[in-house]
């Protein structure tokens, strides 16, 4: 990681964050409270961001089809809630179910993406966008039986927001919290995050992982050295999808609700923006970059809310978020293609 250099977007984002912290401090807001929340937010969104790495490294680009993996995770959680599994055990079962769903969905997704090699990003956007209305049918028609998940009266199918209050709300957030003064460190949550990161690190140290990186760097060279391109890409895409499924489980236990229907769409672009802010350019990406990017972006999200409220235009938060999100993605597209052209 010694070769890591700060790039313009990180400098701008860091300065912006610093400005926000100064503003918050001058408005006498609770900075330690923000710090505690920022750690939770890091992991809450961080697993989804980590899920992008295998696909980036295998050369399949930014995974705009993130909703595919998210849906797998949602199915897993719905199944766990349907069987009324609670606590850490319930969360574990939700992960296990989503693992199964994501393996299947990831395999199908991989088959499609292997057909559109080189154009995964644009295809991914529309695969994601068309998969969501298809899943809306599933949420409406699947025979779930737990009354707490269904529309209370009238209506048909699952609620858009299923409360996890009685199931596995905050199970990771509240696991092994160490309190030092006012600072709270959620060790269980961080340990889960670290576990995923270590898994990714170890994966890229295996033969399959090294093959994935080789394919991402130079496909024709990798083919000549006898690597099965299709199979390597498939492994990376399935792993990406599985981690995305875990990511939404972590997100939901922290948020307190399973959000169905069109919600998965709103998570894709912020996750991609986060990894780009961390220094990725849409190609080979380090785990460190994903962590840094998520932390910077989520802290900004966190701080803009009270500040925008203080100056009486609450919509400003959302506008700033979207401007940063799409701005950084556009920047990455421009930078990456220019580098590609020089080669």
């Amino acid at each position: 990681m010694s070769s890591y250099k700060l790039k313009p977007p990180q400098i701008i984002i860091s300065l912006f964050l610093l400005l926000l912290v100064i503003m918050a401090a001058s408005m006498q807001m609770d900075l330690i409270g923000f710090f505690n929340q920022s750690i939770v937010k890091l992991v809450m969104n961080g697993v989804l961001v980590l899920s992008l790495i295998p696909m980036l490294n295998v050369g399949a680009g930014m995974n705009f089809g993130l909703p595919v993996g998210i849906v797998g995770g949602l199915l897993g959680m719905c199944l766990a809630v349907n069987f009324r599994l609670t606590g850490i055990h319930g969360f574990g079962m939700a992960l296990l179910f989503s693992l199964l769903f994501c393996m299947l969905l990831g395999w199908i997704y991989g088959l499609i993406l292997n057909r559109v090699k080189g154009r995964e990003e644009i295809a991914g956007i529309f695969i994601g966008y068309s998969f969501i209305p298809l899943m809306n049918y599933a949420w409406t028609l699947l025979p779930f039986t737990n009354r707490e998940m269904l529309y209370p009266i009238g209506g048909q199918g699952l609620r858009p927001r299923i409360s996890l209050e009685n199931y596995f709300n905050h199970v990771l957030d509240d696991l092994g919290v160490i309190t030092v003064g006012a600072v709270e460190i959620p060790c269980g949550l961080l340990a889960f995050y670290a576990l995923i990161a270590v898994f990714l690190y170890l994966f890229f140290a295996t033969k399959a992982g090294r093959a994935a990186i080789a394919v991402g760097e130079n496909e024709s060279f990798a083919r000549l050295s006898g690597i099965n391109i299709e199979k390597t890409r498939m492994i990376a895409i399935v792993i990406s999808t599985i981690i995305a499924g875990f990511g939404i489980c972590v997100y939901a236990q922290s948020y307190g609700f399973i959000q169905l229907y069109d919600e998965p769409l709103s998570l894709t672009f912020p996750a991609i923006a986060a990894i780009l802010i961390g220094g990725s350019t849409g190609k080979k990406t380090y785990i460190f970059e994903a962590v840094l990017g998520t932390y910077l972006l989520q802290s900004i999200y966190l701080l803009t809310v009270p500040i925008a409220n203080a100056i009486l235009v609450p919509e400003l938060t959302e506008i700033i978020r979207t401007m940063i999100t799409y701005g950084i993605i556009l920047y990455a597209l421009l930078i990456r293609e220019r580098r590609g052209a020089e080669r």
Binding site: R119, I125, F126, S130, I319, L330, E337
Partner: protein, 354 residues
Amino acid sequence: MKPGFGKQAFNSEYVVPIVFLALSLLAWQWSGLSGSFVFNQVINRFIRDGILVLSLVIPVVAGMGLNFAITVGAMSMQTAVLIMIAYRVSGVTGILLATVLGVVLAVILGYVIGVILNRVQGKEMITTIIIGFLFNSVYQLIFLVGFGSVIPVLNEEIILTRGIGVRNTVDLGMYRNTLDKLWLIKIGDLEIPLFMILVVLMFAAAIYYILHTRFGQQVKAIGSNTQTSEVLGINTLAVRIKVIILSTVLAALGQLAYLQNIGMFDVYTAHLTNDVISCAALLAGGATIKQAKIRHALLGVFLFHTLFIVSPQAGQNLFHNAALGEYFRSFVAYGTIALALIINIRTEKQYKKA
């Protein structure tokens, strides 16, 4: 024409419209809506969305794929209309001034988009999507935060009660259907707004003409092979910028037709799904991301919107749940584009290998 490419074009040019026709007819049967109601609605959609769909044709011919940044053209026109309302310029002067201002904005923004797209050749579509989203946040910043705070506004009626930001909906009562009612022909229950139909057809003719000028020949040359056309001495980058400017301006004019047809102006949402719906309509008419003709656009609007109009009612009758029809609509819109991309990219590769 490239060899081996004709077969693919033959396939989707006829298969896709036939599938849409069959689906529309089935859904229409299930919906139980009367033929004249559906006909009037479709004609209404045709004069509402026709120009927007036509604005997509030239970028496809230039090999730049579907231009999802037509939302930027739409936002230029909306900005112009809002400025006219904010400073109380009404009547014919208002419409004309708004048109001029909207077109000027569209030219400037189209130029910017063109320059950006020249740096991302081969990834134009994904870039236009992101550009559309980014401009949308800038647009929101201007009207939700800027208007009433930094920018003074004469017309207090359109401002939120807190004094900052434009309301979600602005009434366009004075402009509503002014053009649609010109030369309105009634045959029994059927209503035919002849003037606006002619306007849409005139735009179609204009684009047909442009594609057959010297400029149009250059656009086609770039679309079939960029390298060869550069060797032939065509300034590829300049032509590509002109293509996007043209598309953005057409989209701006299309949005004007759209707004006057609806008559209520949803300031923050009116432009949002226009790109996807227009692209899906173009593809439904038999176009691909490599090939588009005027007739694809015109036919596509009819086919796509027939399905769009009847599917919620069909969902209601089949499943007793109108939401299912809505999901079907979104699925058809996005699914059409996804399928077109997957099929096209694959055939593109097979062609390269051959």
